[in-house]
Symmetry: D2
Subunit: 173 residues, 4 copies
């Protein structure tokens, strides 16, 4: 009898603004969620509002699977579009867990928390793609190296579909 093997799906993290989220970033995040769903990957995020919520909504309304890794230790803090919630209880140190739990990371706008997640991804040589035109740290650091070690450049993509494509191709190679 053939042995069952689970082939783990790709896990793609979406990072960005929490509360103070612009309309542009919110729409782009929705598109990123939709594209991750279309690629058959699992959407990983910090589980809260703004970009995280819009991305989860985009994935859920398009048949995807969503995982929210939240700072708090109670489920109720997660946005309602998370299929599975990981309640870390470790505060914003959970940013490291979001980055470690991703095969690739897509940034949409974002403040310093998003920068920290980009940094944690960069440290572990993950593919990090910032979507152009979404403002915040995605705009500020896209196309750059975060430090002088020049591990991996923060890549840029013009839209959601291109961003997901970059991550899929990096994993194949």
């Amino acid at each position: 009898m053939a042995r069952l093997t689970v082939v783990r799906k790709l896990q793609i993290a979406v990072i960005g603004y929490n509360k103070e989220c612009s309309e542009i970033a919110s729409k782009m995040a929705y598109d990123v969620g939709r594209e991750i769903a279309a690629a058959g990957a699992v959407l990983v995020c910090g589980g809260l509002g703004g970009v995280m919520e819009s991305a989860c909504k985009g994935a859920k309304e398009n048949g995807g699977t969503t995982l929210g890794i939240i700072p708090q230790e109670e489920f109720s803090y997660a946005n309602e579009f998370c299929d599975i919630v990981v309640c870390t209880g470790i505060g914003f140190a959970r940013d490291f867990i979001v980055a470690s739990s991703a095969d690739g990371i897509i940034a949409v706008g974002g403040g310093v928390g998003t920068l920290i997640e980009m940094g944690a991804g960069y440290m572990n040589k993950k593919t990090v793609v910032a979507i152009s035109g979404t403002g915040g740290v995605a705009e500020k650091y896209g196309g750059k190296y975060l430090d002088e070690r020049n591990h991996v450049r923060i890549l840029t993509a013009p839209d959601a579909s291109a961003a997901v494509k970059i991550i899929l191709e990096k994993k194949k190679s």
Copy 2:
């Protein structure tokens, strides 16, 4: 148009022996995984070997969904039956995350790490069910209060099906 709402599935954690896992505990863990799948809940665990791996296998071979929350920061440490892997990178402090991320917890055998997970669940007043006859800390602490505050007794169940049933009923009430 009706609004999409995601009703988060119940998340049930299975905790117990890692490597030094008895045959009895391994078989029981498989059954627990199968029953969690049958209940339509998500199986949450520490993502490594022994009871965690057998439970994931039981869930996967019966159409369930499995989440492994591992101590390490690389995916490769997870057992192959995890659909989704959360790479915490925080070492055994991840035991707290396993407990916080569960609506209810089932213990099958286990050493001191399992005791810590039972304690973390107890601290947060989660339903914790130890399966009788599986040895280890499940046997040792089943039916008892872990401290003198008597928050919640560690419940006992004779088998996998009864254990899952207790958790489902506690959530309804």
Copy 3:
């Protein structure tokens, strides 16, 4: 010229009741703090109230040095007898850090959080001494193995001086 070398002082953790602390446990904790100071060791604790606060007071009133490792990320949660405060911001997962940061651990009463710290110490094969007659988990688990692997027995001591002595001797051997 001779090279400067810092010989790290021994770090001894005191664990036990937080708020609901009995008079007996509080007095014993004070004595433990005093004895740790007398031994020239650094007192490590969870930095909050009850046993932690009394132990810090005992150390400070007798010339010792105290370190509080708190769950929160703001200094203000620490008791006023901490010389140095580590604000972990990771919630009760900080119990693992208290245990890892100790050369030996002394338990005075305590609830399930204290049991978790004893468990984390046990897991890392640290010397853990429970003081008899102080109630709580110190009383309940003193003299026992926490699991069936029988790594290290939770030792017992009749008083503060004997508890500190056991740890000093274990480090020498």
Copy 4:
């Protein structure tokens, strides 16, 4: 009788290069350690090599007190100039703890880990001072806001003495 009160000393974190540390950064870090000791503050750091080790050495050779908060769970990873070692066992998520445990932060050179610590400090509105001419992220981000919220600018100072002075003055105000 007068009540004993412990006035917690100021805790100043020094962050920067770990292994790949330039001669200039190493010398500057030593000076920062010396100035922190001269100010009567406790030096907090990540406890490893490079800037962390030089800063601890500078503090110890000038009568200061040093605290190393390391990623690992064993004492042996800390540099030998740490008086007190906190073994977090949570990997690089300990960067958040270094930042939270500081009343002010001084950056000397540094790579992406240092940027993450600067970010964690910025997030909590701590005073962060980057020393000019030390290269790395201290050079790159000194004088700037890390995101568009413009919480607090990363300040700059020309040398160790000026950097410590800025932190002391900010705490008074």
